[in-house]
């Protein structure tokens, strides 16, 4: 285990970094990809209704909602101006503040919202990976090539058969 530890640690660190980068860039890439078409429903779902229902503008179905209905009209007006998705969302953000957006932006402090779950998962994955390697190394330390002789695992069929034979005997 000792000889392999630096290499494994290195590998684990690389994996961790990849996961972290993926976590950081996935939302960015997705938002860039999503910038091209400005679909009405997509923008509705990117905005939160301010009536207190907690739903997106798309999902809010309150009768004569004082928030969702004017917001929908505003989305249509912005789309009629030929704006793209990101431009329209920027407009709503500057007019109503960040709370209007249904998910955090992918810049500044808000990047933490996106990155942290993946970062923690990467750390957890690193710990679990190292633990599995350490525990599996502990079970066959004497194997010179690092590979333990294979123990044939009993198949579920064999186990059931064995159990049935026992039960039958009783």
């Amino acid at each position: 285990m000792g000889r392999h530890l630096p290499r494994r640690l290195g590998l684990a660190v690389v994996l961790c970094a990849v996961a972290l980068l993926a976590g950081a860039f996935v939302p960015r890439v997705r938002s860039v990809l999503g910038a091209a078409p400005a679909s009405f429903q997509d923008i509705e779902e990117s905005l939160t209704c301010q009536c207190g229902c907690g739903l997106t503008v798309h999902a809010c179905n309150h009768l004569q909602c004082g928030s969702a209905i004017p917001l929908r009209q505003e989305i249509r007006a912005q789309m009629d101006l030929g704006k793209g998705r990101e431009e329209i969302l920027a407009y709503f953000k500057s007019k109503y503040g960040e709370k209007i957006l249904s998910s955090p932006t992918t810049s500044g402090f808000n990047i933490l919202a996106w990155v942290t779950p993946f970062f923690m998962l990467a750390i957890g994955g690193l710990l679990v990976g190292l633990t599995i390697l350490r525990w599996s190394a502990r079970s066959h330390p004497a194997a010179p090539t690092g590979e333990a002789p294979e123990i044939p695992a009993p198949s579920p069929y064999d186990k059931i058969l064995e159990k049935e034979l026992k039960d039958f005997g009783e």
């Binding site: 939302p27 179905n61 998910s103 808000n110 779950p117 998962l121 957890g124 599996s136 333990a148 049935e164």
Partner: protein, 664 residues
């Protein structure tokens, strides 16, 4: 009756304090009579809380509007089932109901363990009574349920109309039983830490309690989803609302615990991790109650909000400090000789399963509290809504689904190439085949394709396991397929119950995928006689009828459902106008089939023009979620009911230490 209830809570608090003191003193000085006295006091607390619940229920049913709680949450025209449900519809009542479930479970635990676990029991009693003291203190000093008004109003303000739905009569109790059930394994874990009885005795004792708690958490979440689907009328069932998240969090960590505990039972490993999961799960139940009751994060589900937040945070902090302190204190004794024969084994898969479950729990927790963090750090309010949770959790959910298929059939200790081929060739092939068929059919929603592939993969592993077992029985005793199936399940309930639960999970994943990827929706304003297409149906709006009761005024639309020109059904979506408080609600109309729900909402109606706005949704596969819940419940029932066959020790289970044997 009211004064009796109020007095019962005061005496209950005193007796709970006495029970804690005597339990700990009895354990310290090894005085059996002290411990017995503490247990009797705990039973008396249950009796007193029951009296308090009965008193409040009596006040509710007899419409005693001199009580603030009754006047605030009921009215004389409220149907009886909702008058009863008002017990948990408001702040004080729900805390009292929480306490009632806790003390009832405490009583059952005490009676179950009169002759067992005697070294653990004083600490178990003390922990459960400390939790009870917290709630009793809230009810006596902060939010008393028996508060009288200065004058008696002629009529009550009524229950929030959104809560006047039959799912609300069972959703909160299910969730509370789930929350409170998590306190039992926590109490035993704390007892194990204090006494140093750190074997798997506390785990075996609480296995059914944990399963019961998990079952009710599962049902509570599903009932809540059903309520949202029927009452909120937005065509969905889950909006990642903070309160929904709060109920989901302990379910995730409890699920992780139920899996990792198998490794401790089989291989005497992961003792520290299991302790962490038990502590985390209990802490998250308190966090969930805090979120629902404090109003610190705005939520559509927070029907009552108050200044209880600081008390809950204080209690949560104290719980974490003490329990983690005990865990650190016992770390040297919890270390075990952990070994894995191979990276490719069921043990590794379970570790990964735990990683993903706790990872999802962290992501949900982080998204839920991030608005508070953002406001504290930047002073700017932000929203973390469904798009965030869907983006972060969808890939993790798919990994979890994959592990659901791998975990049960990969070999313990070491998976050989033969084992992998034998167990996974067919499932992987069928999974890929489903993907190819979907792609060839023009489906381009890649998450959905992956999800359906994985559902097919997991389903095949489950079917293969049952098939093998049935074949084995048929070969052995010549039973027919059905008898072999029943005996197979009956003789190994835990294993096959688990498979049935996984089947339910696959069905729920199918529903989530169907509704997320292929939902169709339309909003249309029509006059009587107008028709419009919706999926495979044509819908014809036939007008609106109105009628009223003393409690509610109804506006009901008649919408004929035509299939190839033939009327096959009539749906009647409603608008209801509650008279006290004056509030409109939506009553959706649904036509359910195996493939999809046709879901109609009456958006608005103009009396002058007779025009109505109809919101129509096709929700593919949504019914599989509710039936998945039924299958999940069935699987849990199979797992939880004791098997008549004597339990056999695992073939390679490590020999238990003398201490563990002595305590059994």
């Amino acid at each position: 009756m009211v004064d009796v209830g109020s007095l019962a809570l005061v005496i209950g608090l005193v007796l709970a304090l006495y029970a804690v003191g005597m339990s700990l003193a009895g354990a310290y000085w090894r005085k059996r009579d002290f411990i017995a006295s503490a247990e009797h006091a705990a039973l008396a607390v249950w009796g007193l809380v029951t009296i308090a619940v009965a008193a409040l229920m009596h006040a509710l049913v007899t419409h005693d509007f001199s009580l603030e709680y009754v006047a605030h949450y009921t009215s004389s025209t409220l149907p009886l089932q909702y008058v009863i449900a008002a017990l948990w519809g408001g702040q004080a009542g729900s805390l009292l109901f929480w306490l009632f479930i806790l003390t009832s479970m405490t009583a059952v635990v005490l009676l179950q363990n009169r002759e067992r676990n005697r070294e653990l029991m004083p600490y178990v009693t003390a922990v459960l009574m400390i939790v009870a003291i917290f709630f009793l203190a809230m009810l006596n000093f902060i939010t008393p349920p028996f508060q009288r008004l200065a004058f008696t109003p002629a009529e009550g303000q009524d229950l929030n109309p959104l809560l006047q739905n039959y799912w609300m009569t069972i959703h909160p109790p299910s969730l509370y039983i789930g929350y409170v059930g998590c306190a039992i394994p926590f109490a035993f874990a704390m007892g194990a830490l204090v006494t140093g009885k750190l074997g798997d005795q506390w785990i075996r004792t609480t296995r059914r309690w944990t399963l019961l708690a998990w079952f009710f958490l599962s049902m509570g979440n599903l009932f809540g989803a059903q309520w949202a689907y029927l009452v909120l009328g937005w065509g969905g069932y889950w909006a990642w609302d903070p309160v929904e998240n709060a109920a989901f969090l302990p379910w995730l960590t409890c699920t992780a615990f139920l899996h990792s505990v198998m490794i401790q039972e089989k291989k005497n490993m992961l003792k520290v991790w299991n302790m962490v999961l038990v502590i985390l799960t209990f802490a998250l139940t308190i966090f969930g109650t805090f979120l629902t009751r404090s109003g610190v994060i705005s939520s559509v589900h927070s029907f009552t909000q108050s200044g209880l937040g600081p008390f809950f945070i204080g209690f949560l902090g104290a719980t974490l400090v003490v329990s983690i302190g005990l865990l650190i204190w016992r770390l040297p004794q919890l270390k075990s000789e952990n070994e894995l024969d191979s990276v490719l084994s069921r043990e590794s898969t379970f570790l990964l399963n735990n990683l993903i479950l706790v990872g999802i729990a962290f992501a949900v927790f982080w998204g839920t509290v991030f608005p508070v963090i953002s406001e504290a750090v930047r002073g700017i309010k932000i929203t973390v809504g469904p798009p965030f949770f869907n983006k972060v959790n969808a890939p993790l959910g798919l990994v979890l689904l994959f592990l659901t298929g791998v975990g049960p059939v990969i070999a313990w200790r070491r998976a050989s190439a033969r084992n992998l081929q034998k167990n996974f060739l067919m499932p992987v092939s069928l999974g890929l085949l489903v993907g190819i068929i979907l792609f060839a059919s023009g489906v381009r929603h890649y998450y959905a394709i992956i999800s359906f592939c994985l559902c097919a993969f997991v389903l095949t592993t489950i079917v293969m396991e049952f098939h093998r077992g049935i074949r084995a029985r048929q070969a052995m005793v010549g039973e027919n397929s059905l008898t072999a199936l029943l005996h197979l399940i009956g003789k190994n309930r835990r294993r096959y119950g688990g498979y049935i639960i996984h089947l339910g999970v696959v069905m729920i994943f199918l529903a989530i995928t169907g509704t997320s990827a292929f939902k169709v929706e339309k909003q249309i304003t029509v006059k009587p006689g107008d028709t419009f297409p919706m999926g495979r149906y044509t819908l014809r709006y036939d007008g609106v009828k109105s009628h009223e009761t003393p409690h509610i005024a109804y506006l009901t639309a008649d919408v004929a459902i035509l299939d190839h020109g033939r009327q096959i059904d009539t749906l009647r979506p409603e608008k209801r106008f509650y008279k006290k408080p004056q509030q409109p609600t939506t009553e959706v109309a649904i036509r359910s089939t195996v493939g999809a729900d046709l879901y109609l909402v009456l958006g608005s109606y103009d009396e002058a023009s007779k025009m109505a706005t109809i919101q129509a949704y096709i929700n593919p596969l949504v019914g599989w979620m509710w039936w998945g819940g039924v299958v999940l419940a069935l699987g849990t029932l199979v797992t939880i009911v004791p098997s008549r066959a004597p339990a056999r020790a695992p073939a390679y289970a490590p020999s238990r230490g003398p201490q563990a044997v002595a305590t059994e």
